[in-house]
C-alpha cells in the first residue's frame, strides 16, 4: 500500500535556511547543503525546498544554487519560489528538481499549470495554496508569501488547479505556520475531500500527533513540517514510527 509521506520543508532566504512564524521568517536555521546532507543520511521520504524571497523580490529561481543542492539530494525533491513561466519549470527540472511548486505564478496565470502538465506531466506540478481563515468554514487564498489577498476560495482554486492538470496540492495555513499548535484540519479536509489528487498538509505541525490528525481527520496524503524538525528533538523517522503505531502506513 501507498505510504504516508513525512516531508521536511526547507525555506531558503538570501544565503541560508530560515524559519519563522506566520510567514515572517527571519530566524536563521543553518545552511541548505548541510540540511540536505543530514536528510539524505536519514533517508527522508521527500524534501520541499522553497525560495521564499524570489516572488516578493520579483526574480526567477536561483537555478545555480538549486543545481548545487540537487546534486547532493538523493531523495525526491520538490522546488518552488518565483516560478512564473514554462521556462522556469523546465529549467528547475533540468537542474535536478523532481517536482516544481507553483503558487503566485499560477494564481496570476492559471494556464501555467496546464502548460506545465502538458509538457512535463501532471506528476511534477505541485500547486501550493496558502490560506487564512475568514470565518467559520471559510478561507481565502493569499499569494506572494502570504502578503497578497487574492479573493480565491481554496476549495474552488484547488479544484480548478486539478482540472488544469496539477498533480498535487501543498496546502499551508498561514496563521498556523511556525506555531507548532497543529495543522488547520478543517481546511485540509475541505480541500482533500474536494480533489482526487494528493494533498500535502502544511503549517502548524508541532507533534507527531498533529501529523496523525492531518491524515486521519484532514485526509491528507502527506504531511510537511519545518519548525518541529528545526527547533525540537523530533525527527521524521520518529514521526513515522509514531504514525505506524497509530495504525497508519509509513515507510520505515
Amino acid at each position: 500500500m501507498l505510504k504516508v509521506r513525512v516531508m521536511p520543508t526547507l525555506l531558503f532566504k538570501d544565503v541560508g535556511l530560515v524559519k519563522g512564524r506566520q510567514f515572517v521568517s527571519d530566524r536563521r536555521v543553518g545552511g541548505a547543503l548541510q540540511a540536505i546532507r543530514v536528510y539524505n543520511m536519514r533517508e527522508v521520504d521527500e524534501l520541499v525546498f522553497l525560495d521564499i524571497t524570489a516572488t516578493p523580490d520579483g526574480r526567477r529561481p536561483d537555478f545555480a544554487q538549486i543545481d548545487e543542492l540537487a546534486d547532493e539530494c538523493f531523495m525526491p525533491l520538490a522546488v518552488g519560489g518565483g516560478v512564473t513561466s514554462l521556462d522556469d519549470i523546465r529549467d528547475l527540472l533540468w537542474v535536478g528538481a523532481d517536482k516544481v511548486v507553483v503558487n503566485s505564478g499560477a494564481i496570476a496565470n492559471p494556464d501555467l499549470i496546464r502548460e506545465g502538465a502538458e509538457h512535463f506531466g501532471s506528476q511534477c506540478i505541485v500547486v501550493a495554496i496558502d490560506v487564512k481563515p475568514t470565518g467559520p468554514g471559510r478561507w481565502e487564498v493569499f499569494s506572494h508569501c502570504g502578503q497578497k489577498p487574492t479573493g480565491l476560495d481554496p476549495v474552488a482554486w484547488a479544484r480548478q488547479a486539478e482540472a488544469l492538470g496539477a498533480g498535487e496540492i501543498m496546502l499551508t495555513a498561514i496563521d498556523r505556520d511556525g506555531m507548532m499548535e497543529g495543522y488547520d484540519l478543517a481546511v485540509t479536509r475541505a480541500v482533500s475531500d474536494a480533489v482526487g489528487i494528493p494533498v500535502i498538509a502544511s503549517g502548524g505541525a508541532g507533534t507527531y500527533q498533529h501529523m496523525a490528525e492531518a491524515v486521519t481527520e484532514g485526509h491528507a496524503a502527506a504531511v510537511a513540517a519545518a519548525s518541529m524538525f528545526h527547533f525540537t528533538e523530533q525527527t521524521p523517522k520518529a514521526a513515522k514510527q509514531y504514525l505506524r503505531d497509530a495504525g497508519l502506513r509509513v515507510r520505515l
Partner: protein, 203 residues
C-alpha cells in the same frame, strides 16, 4: 567500468539519474546524439512527463531507431518511469493512441483509482514478485520504492513482472531479454534504488 549512456530527449531531470549511476560506479554520459549510443555498455532511458511529446522528441532526434538497434545488439537497457512506458507498443495519454517503441507487448493506460486512492500515485509503495530476479538481488520482496506517475504499462509477454498494490495492482517492473524497466524511480529510492542500479550495471 561500465559506461552508462543516459538518453536525453529534452523533457526531464537527468541530473538525478546521472548522479545516482555515478555513485553506483558507472562512467556516465548524457546524450541526445544517436551515434553516441554505440559507446554504451548500458543504456538508460529516464523520464517523466507526457508520452506523445516524448515519442515525438525521440523520433525527431533519430533516437528511436538507435535504441532499437542497440537493443537488438543485446545491450542491457533500463527504462525508468516514462522510460518504461515508452517501451510499450501503444500509449493512450490524453485519449489519443500514440505508437511507442514497441519493445514490450502492451499499452499504457491511466491508473484507475479504487476507493480512497488518488491519482497521480505519488510516494513510497511496495514492489512484490521479485524473488530470484537478478535486478532485485539483495532487495527483499515487498521493499518500498518511490513512485510518481498517473499512467502504467499493461504489459504482456515479459520474462519477469513485479507488481505494486495500487489501483487494483499494476506492473511496477519488468524484464524481457536485455530490456529492464521500472515504473518507480530507483535514483530517488535511496538504498534499495541504488542496489537495483548496481545490479543493473553488473549485467
Amino acid at each position: 567500468m561500465p559506461t552508462a549512456v543516459v538518453i536525453n530527449y529534452g523533457l526531464c531531470n537527468l541530473d538525478s539519474i546521472s548522479r545516482a549511476l555515478e555513485e553506483c560506479g558507472a562512467d556516465v554520459r548524457v546524450t541526445d546524439d544517436p551515434a553516441a549510443l554505440a559507446k554504451a555498455t548500458h543504456l538508460v532511458l529516464p523520464g517523466v512527463g507526457a508520452f506523445a511529446k516524448a515519442m515525438q522528441n525521440l523520433k525527431a532526434r533519430g533516437l528511436d531507431a538507435a535504441i532499437r538497434e542497440r537493443m537488438a545488439a543485446g545491450v542491457p537497457f533500463l527504462g525508468i518511469c516514462l522510460g518504461m512506458q515508452l517501451l510499450a507498443a501503444t500509449g493512450t495519454e490524453g485519449g489519443t493512441e500514440v505508437p511507442g517503441l514497441g519493445l514490450v507487448e502492451g499499452d499504457v493506460v491511466r491508473l484507475q483509482p479504487r476507493d480512497g486512492e488518488r491519482v497521480p500515485h505519488v510516494g513510497w509503495n511496495e514492489v512484490h514478485g521479485t524473488d530470484g530476479w537478478p535486478l532485485f538481488d539483495g532487495i527483499a520482496p515487498g521493499t518500498d520504492f518511490y513512485f510518481v506517475h498517473s499512467y502504467h504499462v499493461r504489459a504482456a509477454g515479459c520474462d519477469r513482472a513485479a507488481s505494486t498494490p495500487y489501483a487494483g495492482g499494476f506492473v511496477s517492473a519488468l524484464a524481457k531479454g536485455n530490456v529492464m524497466a521500472t515504473q518507480f524511480h530507483p535514483e530517488k529510492s535511496q538504498k534499495p534504488g541504488f542496489q537495483l542500479l548496481r545490479n543493473f550495471l553488473k549485467r
